[in-house]
């Protein structure tokens, strides 16, 4: 085949090319539609809402004062409040019940950190000034590692927290007087 032969086949070439372009466009449209469907229908999406909190005041008042950190049993499930700071999480070990809808609300007290719970899809950034919210549910009792996943300066490699998932009844018994729970004393 020489370049001259192909000249007559310019139409064929253009048609094949158009067909491929159409397939490529269909693939992309289907992907976007799938993502939209799963997002709307099954509510699987990244954090949708932007909430702010003044990082210079979080230690003094509001949701993230030290006494309010930890797990608490509320009407619609369990809420966990945590903060990240160089180079640890508070609480360092989060205590939650198995098979229960849990809302994690967290922020950073200094630089950018991240929370990742190994073996799960729980994965969020902690940006000072903003509140991260993640819905989670643990199907298995046990300990999970929770490293900081974002570079937060020289001690980053040492910033590992933990999540301890315990039996539901056990958790309910410990939570019944409304305190903020962590692994301490467990």
């Amino acid at each position: 085949m020489s370049a001259e032969d192909t000249h007559g086949s310019a139409g064929v070439a253009a048609r094949v090319e158009r067909r491929w372009a159409t397939i490529a466009v269909i693939i992309i449209v289907v992907m976007a539609l799938l993502a939209a469907f799963a997002g709307i229908h099954r509510a699987t999406m990244p954090q949708p809402r932007v909430e702010t909190t003044d990082p210079s005041r979080i230690h003094l008042s509001g949701e993230f004062v030290e006494a309010n950190l930890g797990s608490v049993l509320e009407a619609n499930g369990v809420t966990v409040r945590a903060i990240g700071q160089q180079y640890s999480f508070t609480p360092a070990c989060i205590l939650v019940p198995v098979d229960t809808p849990i809302t994690l609300r967290a922020t950073s007290a200094d630089v950018v950190h991240g929370i990742l719970i190994q073996g799960t899809n729980v994965n969020t950034m902690l940006v000072p000034g903003y509140i991260s919210e993640q819905l989670m549910r643990f199907a298995r009792i046990g300990d999970y590692l929770m490293p900081c996943q974002e570079f937060c300066s020289f001690g980053h490699e040492g910033m590992w927290g933990k999540v301890r998932v315990i039996d539901k009844a056990d958790f309910a018994a410990r939570a019944k007087d409304g305190g903020r729970l962590s692994c301490v004393g467990q």
Binding site: T6, M45, V111, V112, M125, V127, G129, Q149, F154
Partner: protein, 540 residues
């Protein structure tokens, strides 16, 4: 004929020299945090090295390659002496000055903030100003590419702009605009704090500014590789470009849709809402289109070469390809890595799947496979192809070149595949060491060891590359003739104005950036009480 060989050679040599240094640092990092290394007594050294590795590989190395290659394209595709040679040298020396200024505080541990900056961590102002100088130097190149094309157009009114130059200028415009995000972050937020004019910084806004740069910069890195796919490979293996029009459309699509998609880097962030996250995710899907079109066109172009060499049958033609030709080998390796890396990329940009791998070692594996693999192996191929035209001397040892490419490909696979795997297991990024004695982390030890071995294979390959180029400077002289680009099956006689100029597409690129970034940036900039005091790095 290349008139300004010295200028181009200076860019390439500086690019590959700093690449060699950064590659060595990378291999050391792989080793020191693997189970075969011992724990660093001072983890801070790791972050110095990581900052240097990222800054060189992200900003200095690819920018210099794009610039040197751009000057070569301008002179050879337009067959016109470069206009503004003095300015080009000024740009080069700005990059040298900026790199030196940035590397000193990094080496002293005064700027271990990684190349992604991460405010409110704040390092030495000299680091940031050095990076700004590198970018300003590259903007001179952007202006020169535009001016040279304009001069050529005046002399050739209405003629189709050669594909290589059309793509090269598109890439330069993309870079000029994508660098603006990080420039805004540096000039408005970081540098005022670094020099002490301000004390607080909004980290959320900074992350959005950086995402503006962070994704399209990858397409800027990619441009020389795609230009090589379309305009060098078919010529080098004896084929023709299947479609000149499709090539132009692909480059235009990159220009328009590579930009307004960066927020897929902030899916896990709390400062961006669901709406803009989804829009950016959908636009990111769109950027797969020019790559899918390219894969088709290049495979078709390669098939033309094979059939011209007597290849027959549905797949039988593959055997007829010139597999001993380094360009063929580089293309094949590049496509394999682009395939795996691209598939991983679709997961990263996915609205739902991202959460399972965000900020894990999967991401590190992903961009090393795409950038270090698919893109950089074509930088090697470009250098091998151009070298005789730059030095007037032949690269004699083709076998050595083949070994180098094979090693790079193998090294990249051995490095990045286990990296992806430990990412799925939840291993976080950017850590100076891991406690492999912990029973939950112990299963990752073997994979990390493999990755470290891959890192050393890459190091050997990279050093071999430098050796081949250096030896090429001393081999016997030859007359390489003018540097030529591939011809299309149907060479364009006339090209529609929209596919021959950039104005419409640059306008669209800017408009889409404004619609996709304007509102989030405005709301974050106006929000009160979200700024945080700077945390100075390296202050004793």
């Amino acid at each position: 004929m290349l008139a300004n060989r010295k200028l181009i050679l200076a860019h390439f040599w500086l690019a590959f020299a700093v690449f060699g240094v950064a590659l060595t640092l990378g291999a050391w990092q792989m080793f020191i945090r693997s189970p075969i290394g011992t724990w660093l007594s001072n983890p801070e050294l790791y972050y110095r090295s990581l900052t240097a590795h990222g800054t060189v590989m992200g900003y200095v190395f690819p920018t210099l390659v794009a610039m040197g290659f751009g000057y070569a394209i301008s002179e050879s595709a337009l067959e016109q002496r470069l206009v503004g040679v003095r300015w080009a040298w000024a740009g080069f020396w700005l990059i040298v000055a900026g790199s030196v200024m940035a590397v000193i505080p990094v080496a002293l541990g005064r700027a271990s903030v990684l190349y992604t900056f991460y405010p409110p961590l704040i390092g030495s102002p000299f680091y940031y100003i050095g990076v700004v100088l590198v970018v300003v130097g590259s903007w001179i190149w952007v202006a020169l590419m535009s001016i040279n094309l304009r001069v050529w157009r005046k002399a050739h009114p209405g003629a189709p702009v050669p594909l290589a130059m059309f793509a090269n200028v598109a890439g330069s415009y993309l870079w000029a605009w994508t660098a603006v995000g990080a420039a805004l972050e540096l000039l408005l937020q970081i540098i005022p704090v670094a020099v002490g004019l301000k004390a607080t910084i909004d980290a959320g806004l900074a992350r959005v500014f950086f995402s503006w740069t962070l994704h399209a910069i990858v397409y800027f890195w990619l441009m020389p590789t795609y230009i090589a796919y379309y305009t060098i490979v078919p010529r080098a293996i004896g084929g023709r470009v299947y479609s000149d029009t499709m090539a132009r459309i692909s480059f235009i699509l990159f220009l328009v849709v590579a930009m307004p998609i960066g927020m897929h880097h902030t899916f896990a962030d709390p400062q961006v809402g669901a709406g803009f996250k989804f829009i950016h995710s959908a636009f990111t899907a769109l950027v797969a289109l020019p790559t899918l079109l390219t894969v088709f066109t290049i495979c078709a172009s390669v098939e033309i070469a094979a059939r011209l060499r007597g290849g027959r049958g549905m797949f039988g033609w593959i055997g007829a390809l010139p597999w001993d030709n380094p360009m063929m080998l580089a293309l094949a390796f590049s496509f394999v890595m682009l395939g795996f890396g691209g598939a991983g990329g679709l997961i990263n940009m996915s609205y739902q799947l991202d959460t399972s791998i965000h900020n894990t070692q999967w991401i590190t594996g992903h961009f090393h496979l795409i950038f270090g693999g698919a893109i950089v192996i074509m930088y090697f191929a470009i250098a091998y192809d151009l070298w005789p035209h730059l030095t007037g001397r032949e690269l004699i040892d083709v076998r050595m070149i083949r070994i180098q490419l094979w090693l790079w490909f193998a090294g990249m696979i051995v490095t990045t595949f286990p990296w992806h795997w430990v990412g799925i297991l939840g291993m976080p990024r950017r850590m100076a060491y891991f406690d492999f004695a912990d029973s939950a982390i112990a299963p990752q030890a073997l994979s990390v060891t493999f990755s470290a071995i891959g890192g050393f294979i890459l190091l050997i390959s990279g050093l071999l590359f430098l050796l081949i180029l250096a030896r090429g400077m001393r081999s016997p002289a030859t007359e390489a003739g003018p540097y030529r680009f591939s011809l299309a099956v149907h060479q364009p006689v006339t090209v529609p104005l929209a596919l021959n100029t950039h104005a419409l597409w640059v306008t669209l690129m800017i408009a889409l950036t404004v619609t996709n970034y304007g509102y989030p940036i405005l709301t974050l900039a106006l929000s009160q009480g979200t700024s945080v005091p700077a945390v100075y790095v390296g202050a004793q």
